[in-house]
């Protein structure tokens, strides 16, 4: 499964770090065949905050939202 920039995704329970497990995010860009840069809103991670957090996650850690 591949994803496009801007696509809404959800992280699987295999994602690391732990704070990003089972969270909603948006594909920022594809880095390589298996790795995506994913943007998360702080409010979706912590329930508060107005910043964004960017993580690089494997394709197998992501599913369509």
């Amino acid at each position: 499964m591949t994803f496009d920039a801007g696509e809404s995704v959800r992280t699987r329970l295999s994602a690391r770090p732990g704070y990003a497990r089972g969270r909603a995010g948006t594909i920022h860009m594809r880095r390589s065949a298996e790795i995506y840069s994913v943007r998360f809103r702080a409010s979706d991670l912590w329930g508060e905050g107005d910043h964004d957090v960017f993580l690089e996650l494997r394709e197998t850690d992501l599913e369509r939202a």
Partner: protein, 207 residues
């Protein structure tokens, strides 16, 4: 016992490292010269002045800046860690992503899992970057962390935190300070502090 050196696990780190080094050297796994060479590479050749040179070049050369923002690994392969073509094995493995600060966006770099850092361009990470407190708080309350670093950001500035997982390492391209039009590239690079290269500070203002 069989002649092995034994130390309590709470022995000071430098003693434990020394024992490990002697054990590896005596078994022919590594040589003292190799250890000296690596220390020289990390201690002298890899330092934040490398990253500062890249930033200063990006400030004066918009084409270079654009390449750095879009194809940093290729730029590193061409220009080396010192911007003068000197490469090293660590640099060849570095998957660098450069993120640019603007008037409305501030970028901050952290590694919550350990202490990943763009070592060939910045040298070994400083203690605060490795601290549990920074790693825990930077992703959660970056605005408060930056204020404590002496960088209170206006509420209108959006903060983007880059948590270094997988293989990528991040370098922040800070904003060029005002009043620096008359400075040379070398003089500009001296304004670029190590902290500003990961977004935990901003460049110095010219005297």
């Amino acid at each position: 016992m069989s002649g092995h050196e034994h130390e309590h696990p709470t022995a000071p780190m430098n003693r434990r490292v020394g024992i490990l080094e002697r054990a590896l050297v005596s078994r022919g796994v590594i040589s003292g010269e190799q250890v000296d060479g690596i220390l020289e590479l990390f201690g002298r050749e890899m330092g934040a002045r490398n990253g500062a040179r890249y930033v200063a070049r990006a400030w004066v050369d918009s084409e270079f800046r654009q390449l750095l923002l879009t194809e940093a690994p290729a730029v590193l392969r061409e220009f080396g860690h010192d911007l003068r073509g000197t490469s090293n094995p660590e640099l060849a493995r570095l998957r660098l992503v450069v993120v640019e600060n603007t008037a409305v966006t501030h970028n901050l770099v952290v590694c919550t899992l350990c202490s990943c850092y763009p070592v060939p361009l910045l040298g070994p990470p400083p203690g605060w970057y490795r601290s549990n407190e920074y790693r825990a708080r930077a992703v959660r309350e970056p605005r408060a962390v930056l204020a404590e670093f002496g960088l209170p950001l206006d509420d209108s500035v959006r903060i983007q935190v880059w948590d270094s997982t997988a293989d990528s390492r991040y370098l922040v391209l800070p904003m060029r300070p005002a009043g620096t039009d008359h400075l040379t590239e070398d003089q500009l690079s001296e304004l670029v502090t190590p902290q500003s290269l990961v977004g935990a500070g901003i460049p110095l203002c010219p005297q």
